[in-house]
Symmetry: C2
Subunit: 301 residues, 2 copies
């Protein structure tokens, strides 16, 4: 009722058209309007602006100085309106919806930033939510479809979950400085006799440690169970025992001497980092987009 202003786009369109035609009649034709309608619209604008926009001559109209100054702004508004509508149209076919992704470990190692950035750029209407957790819980949520997809560290997790392997992550055996003297180059049998830091069974490190022990035929004594890499790290530094650490973490902390690495950082075992999603959604367009962006970020075929 009592707005800021009453001016509307259709009036500006008429203003611009009349300005470029120089005739109310011709403008009316172009706009599929009658001449009185054009007259009325121009009149309404002139009233709102408090000044005439055109000088009326026999044979047509001509912009006043004020009209010349206001015309570019009107054109600008029209242009932006078209742009807005164009943007809307370009968004029409875009896939939309919320995507829930489960992350694990250090997000940077998942290349989560570049991945989501690319996804967002390609499909601006996708809104993405991430939930951080350990591999096992992420796997369960993907199976239950509480999550659309997630990351998993380890081998073939489950029958009804499909995977896209992204990379392999190497693991080293980290030693406390106090034990480095006797264990730095020990064989597996000797390592097995050292105290090991146990890992919570929900973490992917658990499976990896377990697989390592089985393959090397050792069954070391476990000093508790822990579920975070940073906790593990502190305990190694404190000399409580040896543990398996991701290669990159291990090397970073080994560099300042706070921990030591068995055999100079030899990779003891590898585990695949995988993208996982419900097998039922193999042909889902959304999953396809997620995988597509992942392939680009991880340089996969």
């Amino acid at each position: 009722m009592t707005y800021d202003f009453r001016m509307e786009i259709y009036q500006l369109r008429t203003f611009v058209t009349v300005a470029q035609q120089g005739h109310l009649t011709q403008a009316a034709e172009l706009l599929h309007l009658s001449q009185p309608a054009v007259t009325a619209q121009i009149k309404a604008l002139e009233e709102e602006f408090g000044m005439p926009l055109f000088e009326r001559y026999p044979g047509g109209v001509q912009l006043t100085e004020a009209g010349k100054l206001l015309l570019p702004e009107a054109e600008n508004i029209l242009g932006l309106s078209r742009k807005l509508l164009h943007k809307a149209k370009s968004l029409q076919g875009e896939p939309r919806g919320k995507v829930r992704i489960g992350t694990i470990g250090v997000p940077a190692r998942l290349k989560i930033g570049p991945w989501l950035a690319r996804l967002r750029q390609r499909h601006p209407l996708l809104s993405i939510e991430t939930t951080h957790g350990v591999s096992v819980s992420i796997l369960n949520e993907v199976r239950k479809k509480t999550l659309d997809a997630g990351f998993y560290l380890g081998r073939n997790p489950y029958q009804n979950v499909n995977t896209l392997p992204l990379t392999e992550i190497g693991f080293c055996v980290a030693l406390p400085p106090q034990l480095a003297g006797e264990l730095a180059n020990a064989d597996w049998k000797e390592l097995g006799k050292a105290p090991w830091l146990g890992v919570s069974q929900f973490s992917s490190l658990a499976d990896i440690t377990q697989e390592l022990c089985r393959s090397r035929n050792i069954a070391p004594q476990k000093v508790g169970e822990f579920d975070e890499e940073s906790t593990l790290l502190e305990l190694i530094k404190a000399g409580l025992g040896v543990a398996v650490l991701a290669e990159r973490t291990a090397k970073r902390y080994a560099a300042d001497g706070s921990i030591m690495l068995w055999r100079g950082g030899e990779v003891a075992i590898r585990a695949p980092l995988q993208f996982i999603y419900s097998a039922e959604r193999e042909d889902d367009a959304l999953i396809g987009m997620l995988k597509g962006a992942l392939r680009q970020v991880w340089d996969l075929p």
Copy 2:
């Protein structure tokens, strides 16, 4: 009827308000509208855009991803609309109208560019027309009010015309190279015996030449009558006779030797360059603006 688009500003205003309020009801109150009206406007926009702009929750609405992307553009359009209206308002009180100005001689010497630029900047609704002529005809048109004002070269032109003196222009006696030998340092009596190029009586040069001859008590023989400085110049070069030239023009052409100057370019007479306007309009606001801008450009008090 069948436009490009139907979207209107009032819908965008509602869109933006709803977006920042998060409630159709509150937005309706702010906009002095009923809630169904707001609902309908948002619905119309959503239909035109081909996608929902808000997600409806119990307790309010929230922008969709598409809405988030389109909102800034809508705000932009609203902002520009306000700017347009603001510009119109700022133009409301501005003096407007056509100003007809008579110019003479070389426009650059009148500082016409800087003057009109300044005028235009201060009073954007003034539209200026210039007519070029000789001093006498400009004077007549100013008296007849066919021109609002003009420039005049010479002294107190007429009773019912007021003046604003701008500067003084010096004049030299220009000699053909052929006559330079005998006349270069001649006295006035000798100069008076040489052939002179007459000047059309409508040009300001005529008055000046006449005044010069009277004051020096000479009555030279005239070789025709000419009304353009450039014509005069050619005739001097061709050796037809001597003539009075504006100092600046004279020096420019003397520099390359195509003409010579009496007594090395001594100023023989001076004449004021004046801004003239009808005495009846001394207190006219328009004349005041013209004079104001002139004073600034010419550094007058």
